[in-house]
Symmetry: C2
Subunit: 336 residues, 2 copies
């Protein structure tokens, strides 16, 4: 293959050497970790593509302005809310890695959903604290939830959401999906618009959040939307903490002890996801929290990296990259 | 319908009035709770059938010997290990309630399996104890387990086991089943005999116990069988605690920190299931325990009662009852 005039900046160590060699067939490849500050500054105007895990702190707003040739950004994280959209020129294409973690994250969503439905965490903690005798009955209102024939609402029906829905069939659940794009899927009932979302939330026994974090979806689960949900519903979040209003969620959990919120993702503090919360969620029995671990094992398999590399090659070869996002959706930046 | 010469003793309050009225069409019905000691003793020789939840303490071995006309015992609990088989005459038919709780218990098995695979309990507890920072990676060997394309072994392929297997398909797992009866099921590979069991245990990434507790299955998971399993396998028990050797399990969990045991069922103390253990299981991060709650919600729906009543009516009408167990399997009694 003839050498090209592309200059790709690889900004993360998770891209393995073999992938770098393959990318080198289509572009000059620079690894951010290998560049001294001065050399980086020198190269900036020539870089036309970057491959990032999450946006690197070295690429400050100032440096970004000097990347006048930048045309393509590929994220290895599925979501792109970490990309500094407000600082990008309109001719820069940004590709998410949608679907790269779908199977792992969908499995994780089910782990949280079932842990909450069957009160596994709550009961295990009670046993540890010796608050239990074997009586084979649970207090009224705090029974375990049987999922069969009940309704699972899924917000966002991309790779993760559709996989969550496929698994739901084995449990004999009805699946409702809220999706911006017109979709069809066997056995799934679709809802759209604000009124569709309200209807889905009213009817669902459990709801899984699998939406990207955009200007439209930030804090989509606010006090009003929580209030229409069933008093003993289960809400699962494997997408982004910021999809949920923090204060509204805490107040709702306190006011509705049989409502359950199980999340792997957290609110932002100083523009980064953080385990720090304004309210003591972890002291509530109807809250389950884990430290954003649904993805890493998927990362370890190398598949998300491989998909991001393949898509970068599409750009380098002059093909249209997949998973191009609409910058209009990311007017508000939520760095990772 | 003509009155019959049957005399049925209903030994549990969970049988509702409507069911008692229906049963009364086929038999005289006595409710144990309504009988004074003297009246009970008077009636014993005439009773030919009993409907129990678990075996009632009033029906002592002494009284059982005076029930010379007893021909049929129906259990509302799925398992019959609580029935005092050694004290029964050979002409007494015992019916289990196999299948009555299958869907609920299969859901619960998946809750335990996913909680263990994704380390939900362990991570949640770590967060509560503030032992975490958000680093998005887990230590080597303690990653979360991805289930897709891995092997799920199911011991016992009755109502619960087959339902657990059906759900596994949605997760893209391969299913291996160990079953005494020759079985076939789409996409399931069957194993039989001691060597088949060893092979299944060697190859499985996760194993669900869904066996009845019988003379053959008691402590089937002993030190030797645990030792052939993968070092990072997951064992789930929704059947009976006594299927597992207590000391062997504890030693195995201590020696293999990435092996996980998640159970809803417990060992027996003084012939009853008890949360008391000889070893501090609840202090181990690779143990998840819940207090035998997979069934009660199912009970609340009335379906298990209805199935037990229907089967009792089969006996009363002179039809062959379903779910007749082989008393040879229960030479050793494990009361509930």
């Amino acid at each position: 293959m003839a050498p090209t005039n592309h200059n790709l900046l690889v900004c993360t160590d998770v891209v393995d050497d073999k992938s770098v060699r393959i990318l080198s067939k289509y572009s000059k490849v620079y690894k951010l970790a290998d560049l001294e500050e001065e050399r980086l500054d020198e190269l900036l105007p020539s870089i036309d593509s970057v491959l990032v895990f999450s946006w690197p702190h070295q690429l400050t707003s100032d440096r970004l302005q000097r990347m006048t040739n930048l045309r393509f950004i590929q994220s290895i994280l599925a979501g792109v809310n970490h990309i500094p959209f407000p600082s990008l020129n309109s001719n820069v294409i940004v590709s998410s890695n949608a679907g790269a973690y779908s199977e792992e994250v969908a499995e994780y969503a089910w782990a949280l959903l079932l842990s909450a439905a069957k009160r596994v965490v709550e009961l295990h903690v009670s046993l540890r604290e010796q608050k239990w005798t074997l009586k084979r009955t649970l207090d009224e209102g705090s029974e375990i939830t049987i999922l069969r024939e009940r309704i699972l609402g899924i917000l966002g029906f991309g790779g993760i959401g559709s996989m969550v829905g496929r698994i739901a069939r084995g449990f004999g659940m009805q699946v409702y999906a809220y999706s911006r794009k017109k979709s069809t899927a066997k056995g799934v009932e679709f809802f759209a618009g604000a009124s569709g979302l309200t209807e889905l939330l009213k009817k669902s026994d459990a709801v899984v959040l699998a939406l990207p974090l955009t200007s439209q979806t930030a804090r989509i689960m606010n006090a009003e939307r929580l209030s229409v949900m069933k008093k003993d519903a289960i809400l699962v979040n494997v997408a982004r903490g910021e999809l949920v209003d923090e204060k509204a969620m805490y107040d709702h959990l306190v006011a509705n002890p049989n409502f359950r919120y199980a999340t792997d993702v957290w609110w932002y503090r100083e523009s980064r996801e953080s385990l720090k919360t304004d309210y003591p969620f972890l002291s509530l029995p109807n809250f389950i929290g884990t430290p954003h671990v649904s993805g890493p094992s998927g990362l370890a398999t190398g598949r998300p990296v491989q998909l991001a590399v393949e898509n970068t090659i599409r750009f380098l070869r002059g093909l249209k990259p997949r998973n191009i996002v609409n910058p209009e959706d990311y007017k508000t930046s939520y760095p990772y």
